[in-house]
């Protein structure tokens, strides 16, 4: 029997390895590059006053980001509170009530559409249904817009996480005489609780940088965010956009980059926390 040449196989093996290495370097490199640029431009802004002072109108010195940071936290938390209950319920329905095929098809289909919808459209939609009728921008409207973006993300991860719970666990709960509802909430969701939390955190970090929807809803205000339901509310993404693109002042450019650095760091932290939570899930299933 004639041996096939080894050199070609070794060569192709090396090529594949080379390409994968390049791909990895590109991905990691792009991320590092972004972080480095943000750090270089943003680091200068990071002073104590930057974190504790609210933003000031154009041209007035010593402006900070405290109001925008607080506003963003409020808006994002509001969005999480609005999105999580219905999204968990929908995810549970998709995973546990598969038998209602038509209804679940409809739910999954509309979630897919929502998932692919550009966020600027969501912003415009909330602008038309909330901001225009009420006559004012509001942080709450921004929460609604972000909640709409979060909903399908949480729903799909919930469905996936519950699907990972083995069917025999449901059966053994039912076999003990539990109702379907108790089985779902106490046993299945308990089993997947870390996965569910992961989904919520991922959605949260996904929307924490969304800018377009906020331009139509929260807008911006230099004051503290003390009228979340009725007035424009300061927030990080709009501050970054405004300061780095619209302002003629160098100090504001710097502050914009500083704010970008803070957002990047926060998103990174959320992602790391998510990782840690999910990795602790080292048992059984």
């Amino acid at each position: 029997m004639r041996r096939r040449g080894l050199s070609f196989r070794k060569l192709s093996d090396r090529l594949v390895r080379l390409f994968s290495t390049i791909a990895v370097l590109l991905a990691v490199g792009a991320m590092l590059w972004i972080i480095i640029v943000v750090v270089i431009y943003g680091a200068k802004a990071l002073q104590w006053s930057f974190f504790v002072n609210p933003s000031k109108p154009y041209g007035i010195p010593d402006g900070g980001i405290a109001n925008a940071l607080l506003g963003s936290v409020i808006i994002t938390l509001g969005a999480t509170l609005l999105a999580t209950p219905p999204a968990l319920a929908a995810g549970i329905a998709l995973s546990e009530f598969k038998d209602y095929k038509k209804l679940m098809f409809l739910l999954r289909f509309s979630a897919n559409v929502m998932m692919g919808m550009p966020s600027v459209l969501v912003g415009l939609f909330v602008y038309i249904i909330m901001v225009v009728p009420s006559g004012n921008f509001s942080g709450f409207a921004a929460s609604v817009a972000l909640a709409i973006i979060m909903f399908p993300v949480i729903m799909r991860t919930t469905e996936d996480m519950l699907a990972m719970v083995p069917y025999t666990l449901r059966e053994s709960a039912l076999a003990l005489g539990m109702t379907r509802m108790r089985t779902t909430l106490h046993i299945v969701c308990m089993s997947a609780r870390k996965g569910l939390l992961t989904g919520i955190l991922l959605a949260l970090s996904r929307v924490s940088g969304e800018t377009a929807p906020l331009l139509f809803t929260a807008m911006f205000a230099d004051g503290w965010p003390n009228n979340y339901f009725t007035g424009p509310t300061a927030n990080m993404p709009v501050l970054i956009t405004e300061y780095t693109t619209n302002s003629p002042f160098a100090a504001m450019h710097e502050a914009g980059w500083g704010a970008a650095l803070v957002v990047t760091a926060l998103v990174l932290i959320i992602n790391v926390i998510t990782r840690i939570i999910f990795r602790e899930k080292g048992h059984g299933h």
């Binding site: 038998d99 053994s172 039912l174 076999a175 003990l176 005489g177 059984g284």
Partner: protein
């Protein structure tokens, strides 16, 4: 001899596909009845009718009667939750709940009875002793049930199943995912369990059926080919199919 369960002409369907044909059986109380047969012959399907667990899936349905203590439990007005309290089930893979050892066993107790804390603790201990697990876990009742070994997890599931004082135990290949030493323990345990419960076990392991069961039912392609005392089935089978299967000529 007291008949605990009387299956009368059970026919079972997965959608349009019929999986069981005219299954009739009389199961004696406080005995172990083994269900044997090649893969896909309907052993598990048959067992899953008894506690109506198949109803989780909308496309599955059953015809016929299943009398437990003379009452047809397949009748629509039967309370399924109470039925399932009376019939414990053990699955192929251990399925401890994601909670402590203690809470695993206490869960069905709290579900079905109103008991004081001390009563619950007593019953949990009883159930764990009943499942020959107490000595191994008495110092780690607060540890997660998932932290136990496979064999211990399965005995935890047995403790959980017997905690709410059922009358019947259904075991669906309870040792097929367990190592031989742990299997032996569970087999010894089953001989204890039959003093209090009526036990049915689906098994792929014919030695197991021969070792522990009093009666054996041989299933093939959805039919009960032969049913009788285990000794008779294994030493003097009446049907050729049974003989071929137990001598290892197929399956």
């Amino acid at each position: 001899m007291a008949i605990k369960i009387h299956a009368k002409k059970l026919n079972f369907y997965y959608g349009a596909h019929q999986a069981l044909f005219d299954n009739s059986l009389e199961i004696e109380a406080n005995r172990i009845t083994a269900v044997i047969g090649p893969s896909g012959c309907g052993k598990s399907t048959h067992l899953r009718i008894y506690n109506r667990i198949f109803e989780l899936y909308r496309d599955q349905r059953v015809e016929g009667e299943l009398l437990i203590d003379g009452k047809n439990v397949l009748a629509p007005k039967v309370d399924v939750l109470e039925l399932r309290r009376k019939i414990g089930m053990i699955f192929q893979k251990p399925t401890p709940f994601p909670m402590s050892v203690f809470d695993n066993v206490a869960y069905p107790l709290k579900l079905h009875f109103k008991l004081s804390k001390t009563k619950i603790a007593d019953r949990v201990e009883q159930a764990l002793r009943g499942a020959s697990l107490w000595d191994e876990v008495k110092d780690k009742l607060k540890a997660s049930g998932l932290a136990l070994s496979g064999g211990q997890q399965q005995r935890l599931c047995i403790a959980r199943a017997i905690a709410a004082e059922p009358e019947i135990l259904l075991m669906d290949e309870p040792t097929s995912a367990i190592d031989p030493v742990a299997t032996l323990k569970i087999e010894e345990l089953m001989l204890e369990l039959k003093k209090k419960f009526t036990v049915m076990i689906v098994t792929h392991n014919m030695q197991q059926a021969a070792r522990i069961s009093d009666y054996t039912a041989f299933f093939f392609q959805g039919y009960i080919i032969e049913f009788g005392e285990t000794e008779q089935i294994f030493t003097n089978p009446q049907k050729t199919k049974t003989e071929e299967y137990i001598t290892g000529r197929f399956g």
